[in-house]
């Protein structure tokens, strides 16, 4: 494992999380998610230290799906359904950032209690993964638009992919099936585009999706 290269990349991925929590433009967040996707895509090379045909395929597929296809799909939906470009947060940007920082701190603290296998010791993978999952949660729950929730889900997924880096040698199958989570993102975005969430609610804000309650 080429740890000296991997850890700076993980830190970069964490910084992208903070950027997403603080950004007020939807387009900026989509670019950030795409960048994080590409970053994640190349990480397996640094975990393995060598590139076989299987790993190469995984790297290319991840970069294409997480870095290009899904962000492109989301921005297509944004243009198609005329979603306004401002993010409409329930929790505004500064508190979001503070929550994100607290989450990252918690992730670092909790990851310490989990023992790592000898060849992984000292790696930032576990805290980075948990912090990214928490960021995804935060975006999912504190942003009003349906499309931002889809982006939040993408971030959550990225966090899970990060954890998969630990298993990439032992259980490649499990890491591969993680790609299936992308299906949900596709369904969300397709749902926004095809099933006229726009027409029926006049805007794609989930505030309008609040008729069902007790």
């Amino acid at each position: 494992m080429i740890v000296q290269w991997l850890d700076p990349m993980l830190v970069l991925a964490l910084l992208v999380n903070f950027f997403m929590l603080g950004a007020s433009r939807l387009r900026a967040v989509i670019y950030a998610v795409a960048f994080q996707g590409v970053l994640l895509g190349v990480m397996p090379i640094f975990v393995r230290g060598e590139v076989g045909w299987w790993l190469g395929l995984l790297v290319i597929a991840t970069i294409i799906i997480k870095g290009i296809v899904l962000p492109e799909l989301v921005s297509y939906a944004m243009r198609e359904v005329f979603i306004s470009r401002e993010i409409d947060p329930v929790v505004s940007f500064v508190p979001s950032l503070l929550l994100g920082a607290a989450g990252t701190g918690l992730a670092l603290g909790y990851a310490r209690t989990l023992p790592l296998a000898p060849n992984h010791s000292g790696s930032l993978i576990v805290p980075a993964s948990l912090a990214t999952v928490l960021t995804g949660f935060l975006i999912l729950t504190t942003r009003r638009k349906a499309i931002t929730q889809a982006v939040g889900y993408l971030v959550l997924e990225n966090g899970i992919f990060l954890f998969g880096l630990l298993l990439i040698e032992a259980m490649p199958f499990l890491v591969e099936i993680g790609v299936l989570l992308d299906l949900f993102v596709c369904v969300f975005v397709m749902g926004i585009i095809i099933h006229h969430i726009n027409q029926e609610f006049s805007s794609v804000s989930t505030e309008h999706l609040a008729r069902l309650k007790d």
Partner: protein
């Protein structure tokens, strides 16, 4: 042989998709389910079916669930065929195809003996059920479907992270050839790293618990049940939620094998009681009787995990309750669907006197209410009462008393709404809706309630044996 339980509904789904006639297509679905049930009955007779490579195994635990969902699919799709004949103007191609795909994927959840494969199947059930929730279109169904997809997919994502954790716990243990086959995990369980396993259990329990509808992750469930067509609600409640419960049982099984059941049981007990309490609060003065039934599902999912948490005799009772609750809840949702059609509303303000307007459905709805709240002589009484006696028998007095108190609150809260719906005089404005009780919309409910009654009066010896085997399998791993 074992693959056919999954492949045949899959093949029939393709056939159903290809059939051009909107009128005849829905009738092919119960036919496919009948074939599936016949196969299941044959499979249940076998000692243990295993596919090559141990990807699929029909163990005693799986037998209980497989028999239940196959039977429920047959009865509910029979009802569906009649239901859809009234809605000829809307294409039912996707609806029918997705029903069969769901059956296939649920069978895969039950049979798969690999952590990853089970997760894939669970994700597939989430996706295949979604179009059926959205059958009636409209903003309310859209909202329900969106919530269902979003919340359940977060749950599924957490379950994947939990699976990763569990996989890492085998890696950390330094096992050679670490795999995710349940048999291997069970064998290696005592060596797995505890901190990782605990974290994995919590994530998997929360993830699959979201799908199962346990509080506080249940929020999608009342909306989905409230807006979905009646037979879809029945299948969600009777078949899909138990599948998620089975997934939790698989993980619990590994905890048992690791000698770490106490940790899992404690979490399950509290979440179970919380689910019952949440359901009880929302059932009081509930004005929408389909949502009422949805909260009843939350309550009963809570009862199931409480049963497992109490252990011993209650494990047997919880497995029996999976069957009792599945059959009763399906009967309740289908009769509620008839009442909704008869009055054109599911609000208690508009509905009263269902016994006069739709005597069969109203009567069966009332019987279903008595059954699900644990009144003798119906099946749920036996299982709910057994869990109670097991709680007191094993000295868990607090849990037992809380459980009893919550059952009582639910009985009163649910009773007030149900009595208002069933008894009294129908309002003047209602009764104009073109609804008539007939063979297709009454027979499945009669069959379901008859089964519930039989299970309450006399548990067949073969079923007792099967449940006993399943409970022993779960408690000891054999």
């Amino acid at each position: 042989m074992i693959w056919s339980l999954i492949v045949i509904p899959l093949g029939m789904a393709a056939v159903v998709f290809a059939v051009p006639s909107n009128r005849w297509r829905p009738w092919l679905v119960p036919l496919a389910c009948l074939v599936h049930l016949a196969l299941v009955v044959v499979a249940l007779q076998q000692p243990a079916l295993t596919s090559r490579g141990h990807w699929l195994v029909l163990d005693p635990l799986g037998k209980v669930f497989l028999g239940l969902i196959s039977l429920l699919f047959l009865l509910c799709t029979f009802y569906t065929a009649g239901y859809l004949s009234k809605e000829q103007e809307r294409s039912n191609r996707i609806f029918c195809t997705c029903l069969l795909l769901s059956l296939s994927m649920m069978a895969l959840v039950i049979l798969s003996h690999h952590l990853g494969l089970m997760w894939v199947a669970m994700e597939a059930t989430t996706l295949t059920m979604a179009p059926n929730l959205y059958f009636h279109r409209g903003p309310r169904s859209l909202e329900a479907t969106w919530k269902y997809l979003l919340i359940c997919s977060v749950g599924i994502a957490l379950a994947l992270l939990g699976s990763f954790f569990l996989a890492y716990s085998t890696l950390h243990a330094g096992l050679e050839e670490s795999t995710l086959f349940f048999d291997d995990l069970m064998r290696d369980a005592p060596n797995l790293s505890r901190p990782w396993m605990h974290a994995a259990f919590v994530l998997l329990f929360v993830g699959y618990g979201t799908k199962m509808g346990l509080a506080p992750m249940h929020t999608w469930l009342p909306d989905a049940h409230g807006e979905a067509p009646a037979p879809v609600s029945a299948l969600l409640s009777g078949a899909l939620l138990p599948c998620a419960f089975l997934a939790i049982l698989r993980i619990y099984h590994i905890c048992v094998a690791a000698g770490d059941a106490a940790f899992a049981r404690q979490i399950m007990l509290w979440i179970g009681l919380l689910s019952m309490a949440t359901a009880a609060v929302f059932m009081i003065r509930q004005r929408d009787f389909k949502r009422l039934l949805a909260y009843s599902s939350v309550e009963h999912m809570g009862i199931l995990v409480i049963g497992i948490a109490i252990g011993g005799w209650a494990t047997f009772a919880a497995l029996l309750h999976v069957i009792n609750n599945g059959l009763t809840k399906a009967g309740l949702f289908l009769s509620a669907g008839n009442i909704q059609s008869a009055f054109g509303s599911k609000q208690t303000d508009d509905v009263s006197g269902a016994l006069r307007r739709a005597p069969f459905s109203g009567g069966l709805f009332l019987a279903g209410f008595l059954a699900i709240t644990g009144s003798p002589p119906f099946g749920p009484f036996v299982s709910e009462f057994s869990i109670l006696t097991a709680a007191f028998g094993t000295g868990q007095y607090w849990a037992g008393s809380l459980y009893l108190l919550l059952l009582l609150i639910v009985f009163l809260g649910m009773g007030a709404t149900v009595v208002g719906v069933v008894l009294g005089a129908p309002p003047e404005t209602a009764g104009k809706a073109p609804f008539r009780e007939s063979l297709w919309n009454a027979a499945p409910i009669v069959a379901l309630m008859a089964l519930v009654l039989i299970l309450g009066l006399n548990l067949p010896a073969s079923l007792t044996d099967l449940l006993q085997q399943a409970a022993t399998f779960l408690e000891t791993g054999r």
